[in-house]
Amino acid sequence: MTDARPSRRLAVTGGVSAALVLLATYGVFFVAPEDADQGIIQKIFYFHVAIAIVGLGAFGVAAIYGIRYLRSRDERFDEISSISIGIGLAFSVLVVITGSIWAKASWGTWWVWTDPRLVTFLIVLLLYAAYFVLRSSAEGERQARYSAVYSVAAFASVPLSFYSVRVARSFVHPVVFTQNGADMPNSMLIWFVVTLLATVGVFLTLLQIELVQRRADRALRRVKARLEATA
């Protein structure tokens, strides 16, 4: 018999995440004050920044589980690492799209090459897209091992991309979080935190869906093998 706990855990995480997403959407659009400067387009910031943070967090999770795989050679860690990168990649695409919408509204063009942060997110996107190319061209035990090594190497370039923002001097991108804390009133910060939590919830839900699905896949293959053996 397969264990029912993961499915139950998935139901709980999914339910809580859905509630948080609804709450965040309501709060951002109906409760949080409208930005005096930018108006309605500023609302996209809540999702844009939250998805960016959780996307980078997903790559961090992937690197940590990559290291855990290398230490233990436990396939479950490789699974979590690769799923996290898939979700992080999807989130990065969303970051670039929402950032592009914001760029159109505030700076008048869809894409601003002079803004290092938008560009570095594109680099991160290319970096992690290559992960799947590597994964598909390695076989057997090498696949997991190489994926883990690459997930660590790729994550090392994420702080570099953030450092490049400071070195290459951004003139355009609004920096929301400075060393003196968040540059926004509390009425906005609360809804930002709710959106961030909702996004974390979405990440965890997607991760668990994929894990449950792969487990089911493996169980099905086991049953099939047993049936073939008895037939």
Binding site: I123, L134, R145, V149, V152, A154, A156, L160, S164, V167
Partner: protein
């Protein structure tokens, strides 16, 4: 006394000399890299500067775009002699620590890049900078010395991943170039800071520092993961 020298230094020397001697005898890799670099610069000239405009502001960018592509070529070639002659089995079977193996390969890649740059940087100055200044060329040389460290370290790590995978000729550029983008940004910025006539030394130093940080970070990554890239 050679006997007092630690084993890893002798191994590193032997492996590095093997690569360099092989290259000196065949001249396969460096000559091809150099030709490629000059052809690529010519392509850039026709692609972006064919209307006779002054390309001085773009010179740093062109140089580092060309060098990044050339590096992919060199890194892709770096394990080929071992694979073709089945030397790899011998080396992997010998009691040489894997980190020494990687360091030697990084050293060889560094040497190839430097050999290419000694010719490619003056050619770039000749082709794209209106009034090249010898001091600026020396400063660009320093950028090369720092940037090559990061390129060689990361290259030697990713080259092994590509070595044992399918479609390695395709895989390596896809893996290597995105990770190389920060180097291209910073090295092109540093080159531009001194070559474009502005001589902004503060900016130059900032970019060089970034290249140093890049080399250190990927050095740590390579050190942390090297034992997992070779098959047991």
């Amino acid at each position: 006394m050679s006997a007092a020298r630690p084993a890893w230094r002798r191994q590193l020397r032997a492996l590095l000399l093997k690569d360099l001697r092989l290259e000196l005898r065949t001249r396969d890799t460096v000559v091809a890299m150099l030709l490629f670099a000059i052809v690529a610069m010519t392509i850039f000239q026709f692609a972006v500067g064919s209307r006779g405009e002054d390309l001085t502001p773009a010179a740093g960018g062109i140089l580092w775009a060309v060098l990044a592509l050339t590096a992919v070529l060199g890194v892709g070639r770096s394990w080929v002699p071992e694979r073709e002659q089945r030397v790899l089995d011998g080396i992997l079977g010998a009691p040489v620590p894997r980190d020494v193996l990687m360091a030697a390969k990084a050293g060889a890649i560094y040497a190839y890049l430097l050999a290419v740059e000694i010719v490619a940087v003056p050619v770039m100055a000749l082709f794209f900078i209106r009034e090249p200044d010898p001091v600026d060329l020396l400063l660009i040389g320093v950028v090369c010395l720092i940037a090559n460290v990061g390129i060689a370290v990361l290259g030697s790590l990713l080259a092994v991943l590509a070595l044992f995978a399918r479609a390695r000729e395709l895989l390596l550029p896809v893996l290597f170039l995105p990770s190389l983008l920060p180097v291209v940004i910073a090295a092109a910025g540093a080159t531009h800071a001194v070559a474009a006539g502005t001589n902004d030394l503060a900016e130059y130093r900032g970019y060089c520092l970034f290249l140093g940080v890049y080399a250190v970070i990927f050095g740590l990554v390579a050190y942390a993961t090297y034992e997992h890239v070779f098959d047991d």
